[in-house]
Symmetry: C2
Subunit: 330 residues, 2 copies
DNA sequence: CAGGAGTTCTGAAACGTTTAGCGAATCGTT
DNA sequence: AACGATTCGCTAAACGTTTCAGAACTCCTG
């Protein structure tokens, strides 16, 4: 493996000079610079990022921890993060937590070992963990979820408004028995969407009794919950994330319920299949790519501006994309 | 940031001893070991992976380069890679190439700078690149694609057989004008699936004239190609990957063609939405998770066994999952 | 009891960078 | 011609580990 010394030798200069041209950290006369650059190319030299990081204490690496990359929900987000990271010379490490505390734990430990500069989290973790990371010099930003008292930066979507809009749309279609297939998980998102749902019905003067079903996130639970909900004969349902939509779709088919005739549906999250499903499903589309990009930008900003800036909350806009499952003409 | 010296001081031993307990690299008497371990815990010490990597020349890091993580096709694969990597103490860096040569180039350059131990590639790259990586000490394995003359390890699926089976299924339904919406891209997969298609029709004694349309991979191109193909009135089509399936579905709807009545459909790749689409689509399901896991195992093996083992090809099995788009009763 | 054989631990060099501080060369001024 | 300023490059120390060679001990053995 060729080192800076090899380059220096070939160019007939000292390693310090090579370093100077590499980093533009000091003036180097044009001829020397040229010789150095030529040497670098001819040896196909790639500076050792480990040595560099060891010395400078900057690794130009961030990590992104999702619960399971297989959730199509995440992919746009991941891409957004990767794009802006790369644009700024950062590399991203990807991890799956399955929301399991011990996995998260282990994961974060290896990240501090690797001296990663910051972490983007897609779900809440114990506050103590965040503080431990901070003490180790890592920055953390949440995306999609918002920690209770905003003890760290977060990038989210206007969940309550968006949910409110979705349910209002259902009500505007004349539906009165509007149910929600929501989820709990200690995630702010789930709660907020429920709030939006309640608010919309309240405003419409409708009392949704017994039509609130909260599920766990796994698809099997969701299907069980969907059966539970559909058994109560709602004439519309708001499914609070993509898994819940899938659950409703499958269960409705199973029960022979026609959508939207028997039961209208509005979902949350606009993953690819929503448009090819039958019927195509009306859903609140979160700007996933932007969410990821904004999170990465937020993290990099904080890395640049230094540790002690107060927490910043970025709220992006989620819009309803109307298709047919709500009863509209596609 | 606490270092090994701090630990050593607190435990009253030398750094070498701490290192020994950390790595189990030498015998350390139980009492000393205990003192060291206690010190480690009480200081919340995390060995600096940079320093360690600098010294040992092992970073325990691999990279996974996909063209675009947003393709749902990849997510299972990514998860497979991440799981086995982590299981063996490796961290994975994720990159998106968009198949753009300059991006690939830059990407690989940063990987060698970071002294990543190996790379998993989901698309072919110029052979010279692979060889350059090798010279820098990186191992590379391909997954999903197979380099022409197997100049590197690869993990793939039995594409021709699988395609053959898919088309045979269509023929068994009595379809005769069976078209293929394939793709070119220098990828072995596309070619192989075309071969399987041709073989099946040949065996059935059917001459598919003018029903072969090859598209580029982007969805817009695919839709254009789909229109082209459907205009020629096939009574069945084999769509060679998930993008092509989506294109056919949308275009058929656009043209008012009923699936499977007017035109049966069998796809390739079993992404989530295939089962909720209307009709649910019959498709060749690749074991994506296993593909990724096998690729990672292959890479780690090679890392362990040393550079000069001959190239190994791993072929996994893809099965047809029958739903309704082919004409079967769901 | 001398000296060899094991044990268990330590000192110090090395990994490949960056960077402070120093020194040599050049230059303009007087 | 002598002298500071200025420019440009170099020396060497540090970053936090691992690891080799060997030091200090203990324990036998003859």
């Amino acid at each position: 493996m060729v080192t800076i010394k090899d380059v220096a030798r070939l160019a007939g200069v000292s390693p310090a000079t090579v370093s100077a041209v590499l980093n533009n950290s000091a003036f180097v006369s044009p001829p020397l610079r040229q010789r150095v650059e030529r040497a670098i190319r001819s040896l196909n030299y790639h500076p050792n990022a480990l040595a560099r990081g060891l010395k400078t204490r900057r690794t130009h690496t961030i990590a992104l921890l999702v619960s399971d990359i297989r959730n199509p929900f995440y992919t746009g987000l991941v891409r957004g993060v990767e794009d802006v990271a790369r644009e700024h010379g950062y590399t991203v490490i990807l991890g799956n937590s399955d929301r399991r505390p011990e996995k998260i734990q282990r994961y974060l430990a290896t990240l501090v070992g690797r001296r990663v500069e910051g972490v983007i989290l897609t779900h809440v973790v114990p506050r103590s963990h965040v503080e431990a990371l901070r003490r180790q010099g890592l920055q953390v930003v949440f995306v999609d979820v918002r920690p209770r008292d905003l003890y760290a930066d977060a990038v989210v979507v206007n969940n309550v408004e968006a949910a409110w809009g979705a349910v209002r749309h259902l009500v505007a279609h004349g539906r009165r028995r509007v149910g929600i297939l929501g989820f709990r998980s200690g995630l702010s998102t789930g709660d907020e969407r429920l709030v939006g749902y309640r608010r919309a019905l309240e405003e419409a003067g409708v009392q949704p009794t017994g039509l609130v079903v909260l599920s766990r996130l796994a698809l099997e639970h969701a299907q069980e919950a969907a059966r539970e909900l559909l058994r109560r004969r709602p004439d519309a349902v708001f499914a609070a994330n993509n898994t819940m939509v899938l659950a409703i779709l499958r269960t409705a088919r199973e029960l022979g319920l026609r959508i939207p005739e028997d039961c209208a549906l509005v979902g949350f999250d606009d993953v690819e299949w929503m448009s090819v499903a039958e019927p195509p499903v009306t859903t609140v589309a979160q700007p996933m790519y932007e969410l990821g990009a904004a999170a990465a930008r937020c993290l990099l900003d904080r890395l640049r501006e230094g540790r002690d800036r107060e927490s910043r909350l970025t709220v992006l806009h989620a819009d309803l994309v109307v298709r047919r499952s709500c009863g509209c003409e596609g």
